[in-house]
Symmetry: C2
């Protein structure tokens, strides 16, 4: 189907979904080729995917689109599909997709399905399921070309025309020795330029970057993107090849990793929650807000301890929001820069002092700029009062200390987390803003009571 036709199809399906025109939709689904339907499906929002999926009847179509659903929706629908159809669906799915989906199901149901699937298929799937979901093992496909060193270029091409006809991405020809160990790699591209009778061992590259099934998936993604590879072979302890991770999966991982980092920094967990139910969305965010709640509580007690000072100088309270706000914002800036720098490899912990020093300098300069601004405002606003000068200075110093501390804390915390192998994104967001809030308010009131002499 042409791009233009696909676009029209997508628009029509969206319109019909909006109208709830079930009968027409079923008609279109029946007439549309599966590959096209899958592309249209990816164009839809999660809500529309859900609506469209409800209308499917053919197990093969369901299987293809099932892996494009969001986890909760998937689980919801699986309940409505009966076991024999589920088995049919899982038989048609590629092993890696099947493993990923089965891992989401409860064990009893996934065991039932596996036991009824074709033996060879379920063996593959079970092997993949045994790896943790953050590893290369759970991600690899077992669909690759591996031939022996003595195979001639001509024979490799023959093998591609017969035995390996179904391999989805045969860019690389992996070379194994008599014991099945990975010893080299060649490419489809080299294959067409070498003389037909040349054996693989004479033109293969022996410098191979590999992953193990236990390599973290983000590390695999980094390897692929660093070396500009189209696939990376996965080997076991004996250097035997057990699968490949391809560049299209790597793109998905990079997308997911960036999303996870953003969500973690905002304290929303690491799973994408928009499409989840209100109840689930609430439950996931509740504990993350607790850090902020405890910080707020600490601020209550701090301010409470300054109650007598506040009683004599209520105008001090008017500047609490601006001091907290400026500190919070610059703290978020510093931690975002450092967290993303670590994730993209642009920042190295070795440069700890330099990075933190630079952030502190930026924070202090900006603190001085805005401190002077706000000091002037305070002086003008309370010009008639005898305390206006001390107030202006207290507020100005409050901003400076809040912003410099925020940039210091904001840049240090993620680096320290990284040092101790804790994901810097996960604890940075709420932790930084909350600690900055408490320290800022405390400093401000200390300075104010000292200066105004309360």
């Amino acid at each position: 189907m042409q791009t233009e036709q696909l676009r029209i199809l997508t628009v029509s399906i969206k319109r019909l979904l909006r109208r709830g025109a079930t009968r027409q939709l079923k008609n279109i689904i029946a007439k549309t080729h599966m590959a096209d339907l899958s592309i249209v499906f990816k164009e839809l929002s999660m809500d529309n995917r859900k609506r469209l999926f409800k209308l499917l009847e053919d197990p093969e179509q369901m299987g293809l689109l099932l892996s494009e659903l969001e986890e909760n929706t998937f689980l919801e629908y699986v309940k409505q599909i009966n076991l024999s159809i589920l088995v049919e669906i899982f038989n048609t799915l590629p092993s890696d997709d099947a493993a990923e989906l089965l891992n989401m199901l409860d064990e009893e149901l996934s065991d039932q399905i596996l036991s009824k699937m074709q033996k060879e298929e379920s063996d593959n799937v079970e092997q993949l399921m045994s790896y943790d979901e953050d590893t290369a093992g759970s991600l690899m496909v077992q669909d690759f070309v591996a031939l022996e060193e003595e195979t001639k270029a001509r024979e490799v091409i023959e093998a591609l025309q017969s035995k390996y006809l179904d391999v989805e991405m045969p860019f690389y020809i992996y070379v194994i020795d008599d014991y099945g160990k990975l010893v080299g790699v060649s490419s489809l591209r080299q294959l067409v330029v070498v003389p037909p009778e040349k054996p693989l061992k004479e033109f293969m590259a022996t410098d191979i970057i590999t992953a193990t099934p236990f390599t973290d998936r983000e590390d695999v993604a980094k390897l692929v993107s660093k070396y500009d590879y189209l696939a990376i072979p996965v080997v076991d302890d004996d250097n035997k090849m057990i699968g490949i991770v391809t560049v299209d999966d790597v793109i998905d991982i990079l997308h997911e990793a960036a999303t996870e980092d953003m969500l973690k920094m905002a304290g929303v967990g690491e799973e994408y929650v928009e499409t989840q139910t209100v109840f689930r969305g609430t439950r996931i965010r509740l504990p993350w807000l607790f850090a902020s709640f405890l910080g707020g509580l600490a601020a209550v007690f701090i301010l409470n301890s300054f109650e007598s000072a506040l009683g004599e100088a209520v105008y001090l309270a008017a500047f609490i929001p601006v001091i907290m706000g400026m500190g919070g914002n610059i703290g978020t800036q510093s931690s975002t820069i450092v967290v993303r720098g670590i994730a993209t490899g642009k920042i190295d912990i070795q440069d700890f002092a330099k990075i933190v020093g630079k952030e502190l300098a930026v924070g202090t300069i900006l603190g001085i700029v805005y401190g002077v601004f706000i000091g002037v405002v305070a002086k003008i606003l309370y010009a008639a009062e005898p305390f206006s000068w001390s107030l202006a200075i207290a507020v100005g110093l409050g901003i400076i200390s809040s912003m410099s501390i925020a940039s210091l804390v904001g840049s240090m915390i993620p680096l320290i987390m990284e040092r101790f192998n804790i994901d810097p994104a996960v604890a940075t967001g709420p932790f930084v803003t909350t600690s900055v809030d408490i320290v800022s308010v405390y400093c401000y009131f200390m300075i104010a009571t000292l200066l105004i002499g309360l």
Copy 2:
């Protein structure tokens, strides 16, 4: 070089850089193959890249590593290299890298370099430079295989062995008609499975996804990742092929796009600033903090207008930080979810009411939970006072209104921005937190004065 050797080399270079062992480093550089040096270079932090680059002497090495430097560092070093060496460097660089780097230089210098470069090379580079840096045009390489419809499979392979031997990524064989228009595409993979005498037009696919040189680079990246392609052809108005964008560039774009979104949301501009100077870092962040400053100022005036109420009930001030903090955090959560959902295509503006409604529901429920918590704390803390009940209720309602408003504003703003084609990430961060701060504080004091009757 084997992976293990590369790892050792990287570690040694890092150690020598730390020690400042210039002579040994120069020795190593001279002995290391350029491709290996480039891989090691990518492993280093920006600071270490800078240090290592200073030690290079060979123009070819400099060219290769130049494009791995960060913009400021690049500009700094270019100044120190004399013109004839610069021309040599740019002659050896691939056109797309050369165009990207020349675009960073001031026009006078880039014109000088272009005029002294080899004619054919500078023509290519100038064409690429004419496209905006956010477009497919600036990103494409002119290195692709394009043959006519009648070419037989055997002849295609022959062409790959001679004319196209230097093409870096010949996965796809593009097919053009007599007028040079793109009419089909085949792959290296198909080529080895079809009979040698079959002409391209009989096995090519005619359903081609293309980009124009003016297509936004992020849209190109989305096409590649959606269709799992390894490259996308770029065509001009007459459907003539002028280049391809390859999957390795797409990975870089996705990485950059995610970084840009995070930085924009934190209000740090859209350029990665860590490695910039303190002065530049300050200048970039100054205007972004201004929104937060204005918000803080508004809060000063609001609280000032409640001064008499505050004077009678200073304890109200103690709860300002917790009310602002909880609102700010949940607002950031909501906007992060929506911004990322838009970027990954999981959220569609059509579902506006549903998304905002869900966020509002989550915000309100969480507001009630934490409102009750903090109300209880207020009641206990001021148990002895006659106003303790009213205070508890005012503070509780303050949290509920702050959190529900924050989730409403946080989810609405990015959707509205997207609706009006403004990048939702850019204005979301500081705008959301600041408006939430002001509204929260105002609501809290309104409720408090009404309840406590000040």
